[in-house]
């Protein structure tokens, strides 16, 4: 099973960036860095959502209890 992006964590990070950007005392350098990070993360998240394709695997277990993962065509 390949590692999947954790959207919950992604969105939490984005929320945190936005909240920081909305803090009045933030200096401009930091604001710019946060903004760029935010824009990059947003773009990546949006791309992932727009291109994702759900995959279906069948999990099988042999007599010894060893797991096997097959593609399921359905």
């Amino acid at each position: 099973m390949a590692a999947q992006p954790d959207f919950g964590k992604e969105l939490e990070r984005l929320e945190a960036i936005v909240r920081q950007l909305e803090t009045p005392d933030l200096d401009l350098d930091q604001a710019l860095k946060l903004f760029e990070e935010g824009v990059e993360r947003l773009r990546a998240a949006r791309d992932r959502l727009n291109t994702a394709q759900s995959k279906v695997k069948q999990v099988l277990s042999d007599h010894a209890g060893t797991l096997k993962v097959d593609d399921l065509d359905a």
């Binding site: 999947q4 969105l11 984005l14 936005v18 995959k55 279906v56 999990v59 359905a74």
Partner: protein, 386 residues
């Protein structure tokens, strides 16, 4: 056994020297009864149930008569539960004579309560009580994660249930992968199968949420999901379990033990996934706030920021259009942060000729001109003294 009653033999035995043996009488009686009485359904009230050697011995009665009955172990095994004393039942069997004792009896092979779901209800209540005793029914329910990556689905790979779950997931949240664990959902061996499948889910460490699903069916078909062992296996799955078994009106033990109950397999898939369009719109909203947050700072930024600034500002302005609309509607948060809001409250921003904001007394030099930005425009000012 099916030979006709031998009338001439009966006439012979009219005198003592033609007497029959006891076993011959019983054998003939049995043959006669089995010939005349076809296997049948009998309705009666259950009484005096005793178990012996795995078999049941009891009587059925009505207001006038009693009928001795026996039910054998292999047939008993197919019943969800034992009937209780006084319960009204339908019993199917063949009337016969137990030759050894000369007893007339009904050999029962099938039985059901006359009330709908009677025996199933008994089995259900019994298993439910056992689960309640162990605290499994009121265990703490795990919340379903909002953005699942792997969804385990315990169901049969045949039939519409899996297809429904797959299509809802693909539509709503294609980011998720589905791990299907096939199991038989009814018939012999299905209980072991479902338990094994649920144990397998425990080994899938990447799974975020599990769905146990089965289409609608008769009470007997759904019985697997009323088994205590299945309910216990559900409770042991470490991730949240969504149960969608049978129709909405059928509540199984599996439903009662699961973290969430869904009325249908499709609904289970909906509960397991966020809607991609909603998440995209959340992202858009975040983008607007991001832009708004920065715009607040880069407003009239000096050229030291050069091309980076130009690029950003144009990006920011594009986003600002979205932001100003969305945010004013959605939260009003930007309004509170906007410098215009602050200016409207009577504050003013002093800037020098280069546009730099004068923040501290040290930024002001006697005689210097500066611009004072107020809510509806700018006024020219000069430092009188510092």
């Amino acid at each position: 056994m099916d030979r006709p009653v031998d009338v001439s033999a009966m006439l012979d035995s009219a005198a003592p020297d033609g007497a029959w043996s006891v076993s011959a009488v019983n054998r003939r009686a049995r043959a006669a009864i089995e010939q005349v009485l076809e296997p049948m359904w009998v309705e009666g009230e259950m009484t005096g149930l005793k178990e012996f050697g795995g078999n049941w011995y009891f009587s059925l009665r009505d207001s006038l008569s009693q009928l001795k009955c026996v039910m054998f172990r292999d047939d008993i095994r197919r019943l969800p539960a034992a009937p209780t004393e006084g319960m009204k039942v339908y019993a199917f069997g063949r009337a016969t004579v137990y030759e050894k004792r000369g007893e007339f009896q009904l050999n029962v092979t099938r039985m059901m309560s006359t009330e709908s779901g009677g025996l199933f209800r008994i089995a259900f209540e019994k298993a439910k009580a056992a689960l309640a005793k162990d605290g499994i029914l009121d265990r703490r329910r795990k919340p379903v994660p909002r953005y699942p990556r792997w969804i385990a689905v315990v169901t049969s790979v045949e039939g519409a249930v899996l297809r429904d779950i797959m299509s809802v997931t693909a539509q709503r949240w294609p980011v998720a992968q589905i791990a299907v664990i096939h199991t038989r959902v009814q018939g012999d061996g299905a209980v072991d199968d479902v338990v094994r499948a649920l144990q397998l889910v425990q080994k899938l460490t990447k799974v975020d949420v599990a769905i146990v699903a089965r289409g609608g069916g008769s009470k007997e078909d759904l019985q697997v999901f009323n088994e205590e062992r299945v309910a216990r296996a559900v409770a042991q799955v470490p991730v949240p379990v969504i149960s969608a078994v049978g129709h909405e009106t059928d509540v199984t033990l599996c439903d009662l033990v699961a973290d969430v109950r869904a009325p249908t397999p499709s609904a289970a898939a909906e509960m397991a996934t966020p809607d991609r369009d909603e998440v995209l719109s959340d992202l858009e909203h975040l983008g607007a706030r991001l832009a708004g947050g920065l715009a607040h700072r880069v407003d009239r930024m000096d050229e030291r920021l050069g091309r980076t600034a130009d690029r950003l500002v144009s990006a920011v302005h594009r986003r600002m259009e979205v932001a100003s609309y969305r945010l004013s509607v959605a939260s009003g948060r930007l309004d509170a942060l906007s410098p215009l809001g602050t200016l409207a409250r009577g504050f003013a921003v002093p800037r020098d000729a280069g546009g730099r904001v004068l923040r501290r007394t040290g930024d002001f030099h006697t005689g210097d001109p500066f611009d004072l930005r107020v809510v509806d425009g700018t006024v020219k000012a000069r430092v009188e003294g510092n």
